[in-house]
């Protein structure tokens, strides 16, 4: 079960009022050992997650440049965010990236996984070829490669010139730079594809056989059997990919040469946050931005969960 599925199960159990039957102390025979084994994680949780979360929430209401002690600023950072055009632009850029690249990547992953399903010849070969880019895609080297592939004299334009098209320098054009990063994300469709393949394998063959017996054709079987049974997997991929896509940084940074340009067209929210924190040393402002990011991601996740009632099919 996925992490999302697990959380859902726990929520369901809590609602039914039996959270694993932790009533008496006798039910918890491993109290000491449990906490000892968990100690590193617990320390890490307090020191590196919960403590810093509280601290950054406080810092969001201060001015802090690392050099002088923080000074209380009230809601200044938040009012400043309201009027910060670059910030809203960076949020818009990030939203476009997330909303376009994640569904595209998942759709391609699903389509290819369905094509590769059920012991087709060469499956292992294709799977390797499609999976490799997803392991390399996050690296600086690939982002550097992308700059050249989509450069004025790059591979893409060489290909277009066969058709007599004189392509622009995609990376340096404000209308297209973001698209190249979206394409880079789609290029890494291999990892969700592998997850979909595993999900497809768990659909009992007999469902398909029964449907075939009843005269259901390929498309009917896909939309009435395969797709509904895959919706939990599609859903958790969607949730997690959206969460992670909001945090993308490296590719935008490298492709734009660290500027977020041209004219802020690849200025991801995280890139702007990085600049505020580590080049302008506006640590308070950056903390406030981080909480805005958290809110946006939480909102997206909540909407996702809310909509899931209408399209995700759970067997239980």
């Amino acid at each position: 079960m996925s992490s999302i599925g697990e959380l859902r199960q726990m929520a369901l159990q809590a609602r039914r009022g039996r959270s694993g039957g932790e009533k008496a102390k006798a039910k918890n025979p491993d109290n000491r050992a449990g906490h000892l084994f968990l100690a590193p994680w617990l320390i890490g949780l307090v020191v590196f997650t919960i403590g810093p979360m509280i601290a950054s929430l406080v810092l969001a209401f201060t001015d802090y440049n690392l050099l002088q002690p923080p000074t209380w600023a009230g809601f200044d950072n938040f009012t400043r965010m309201m009027g910060d055009a670059r910030l809203w632009n960076s949020l818009r850029v990030t939203l476009v990236y997330v909303v376009v690249s994640v569904p595209l990547q998942l759709a391609l992953a699903l389509a290819v996984a369905v094509m590769l399903d059920r012991g087709m010849r060469g499956l292992a070969f294709y799977r390797s070829i499609f999976y490799l880019p997803s392991l390399l895609g996050g690296s600086v080297a690939i982002a550097i490669l992308w700059r050249q592939v989509f450069g004025k004299e790059g591979l893409v334009n060489a290909f277009l010139s066969w058709f007599g098209i004189d392509g622009p320098g995609w990376i340096s054009h404000p209308d297209y730079a973001l698209a190249t990063i979206i394409i880079l994300h789609v290029w890494t469709f291999g990892s969700p594809m592998v997850i979909f393949l595993a999900g497809l394998r768990q659909i009992p063959e007999m469902y398909h056989e029964a449907a075939q017996m009843d005269g259901a054709g390929r498309f009917r079987r896909f939309f009435s059997i395969t797709l509904p049974l895959l919706t939990p997997i599609i859903f958790f991929n969607l949730v997690l990919q959206i969460i992670f896509a909001f945090q993308s940084f490296t590719q935008a940074y490298i492709v734009s040469g660290g500027t977020g340009g041209p004219s802020d067209s690849t200025m991801f929210f995280t890139l702007y946050l990085y600049k505020q924190a580590f080049t302008e040393l506006n640590m308070g402002y950056a903390s406030a931005m981080a909480w805005l990011l958290l809110l946006v991601i939480a909102a997206f996740t909540a909407i996702n969960f809310w909509f899931s009632k209408y399209w995700v099919f759970y067997d239980d």
Binding site: S3, E6, L7, M10, E22, K27, N28, N31, A33, G34, F37, L38, P40, W41, L42, I43, G44, L45, V47, A55, S56, L59, L66, M115, M120, G122, I129, F130, Y131, L132, P133, L136, V140, A141, I144, L145, Q148, V149, L155, A158, V194, A198, Q212, G215, A216, R218, R220, I233, L240, F244, F246, Q247, T250, I254, G257, L273, M283, A286, A290, L293
Partner: protein, 303 residues
């Protein structure tokens, strides 16, 4: 569509001839479909892989030919880009490779130790607050790290750990990569309970059950963790970017950035060559660990 129906419910009264024809038609249709599918997949494969091949071939071409001829078939191969790129960043590239290796080793050991301990507790022990902890642990997987970024930076700065590898390694010993805990929990849950009960009856304590029973059985999950940690740490750019700002501390990822910073006078061949060098370890991890990677994804699928 009708074809499928016919296959499933053969008419009893049917001339030998007609059924033969039908079978041939079906087989032909299946063959056509298979060919179309393979053609599509091969075209997609080429699109996916071509940039990588182009990168490798370009890194072996004389610098002047890289953009004049974008093909991948050439006989004019040279290693001069590698020789030049290796030394073009003031420090030899091996220096950055060693830095990356140290980071990878530290992070991998940290993740293996801390995450397996936590996973054992979550999967096998009953203790107060387990479910709440578990829910929090899953929640941290989804928490954007930016909300802890600034305070973490301040902590490490106060500790005097800037310009050291510690901010990138120490947290791993405290199981901050909760994804791997989850992966291991899933794996341990899948092991037969009887093994643990037998060890219990034989009088083994939790430390022994963990060290001598659980760990050996969860080698596949450990391998998956090690390979993912390797790939992610090797590729990590953001962490080193903020904590390591002097050249001698750069890992490969940040050192590569130097090639685009200096692009006005750039030597594309050298940049490509060092990019290839930085990708080779990832490629090897992929080749050697593909089995574990695919399995790891399949069982707990994240990213």
């Amino acid at each position: 569509m009708t074809a499928a129906t016919d296959l499933a419910t053969p008419r009893v009264i049917e001339s030998q001839d007609a059924s033969d024809r039908r079978r041939r038609r079906l087989r032909r249709r299946a063959a056509v479909r298979s060919v179309i599918k393979h053609v599509l997949l091969i075209v997609l494969s080429i699109v996916m892989i071509y940039p990588l091949i182009w990168l490798v071939v370009s890194s072996l071409k004389p610098n002047s030919e890289i953009f004049t001829d974008l093909g991948i078939f050439t006989t004019d191969l040279t290693l001069e880009n590698y020789a030049y790129g290796w030394t073009s960043q003031q420090l030899p590239f091996s220096h950055f490779l060693i830095n990356s290796t140290i980071l990878v080793i530290g992070a991998t050991i940290g993740n293996l130790v801390s995450c397996s301990l936590a996973a054992y507790a979550f999967a096998r022990l009953k203790f107060w607050g387990r479910n709440a902890y578990f829910a929090i642990m899953l929640g941290t997987i989804m928490l954007p790290f930016h909300v802890v970024l600034v305070p973490q930076f301040i902590i490490f700065r106060q500790l005097g750990w800037l310009e050291t590898f510690l901010p990138l390694i120490v947290p791993k010993f405290l199981a901050v990569d909760a994804f791997f805990i989850f992966l291991m929990v899933q794996f341990i849950r899948g092991l037969p309970k009887e093994i643990f009960e037998a060890a219990r009856i034989d009088g083994a304590g939790h430390l022994r059950i963990f060290g001598q029973v659980t760990l050996p059985l969860m080698v596949p999950a450990l391998a998956t963790t090690a390979i993912f940690t390797f790939i992610w740490t090797w590729g990590d750019f953001f962490g080193p970017l903020i904590y390591l700002r002097t050249r001698e501390n750069f890992p490969v990822s940040v050192a590569l950035k130097g090639f685009i910073d200096a692009q006005s006078s750039s030597n594309y061949g050298a940049m490509f060559a060092m990019s290839v060098v930085s990708l080779i370890p990832l490629f090897l991890a992929f080749l050697l660990g593909q089995r574990y990677l695919v399995k790891g994804f399949a069982t707990s699928g994240i990213k």
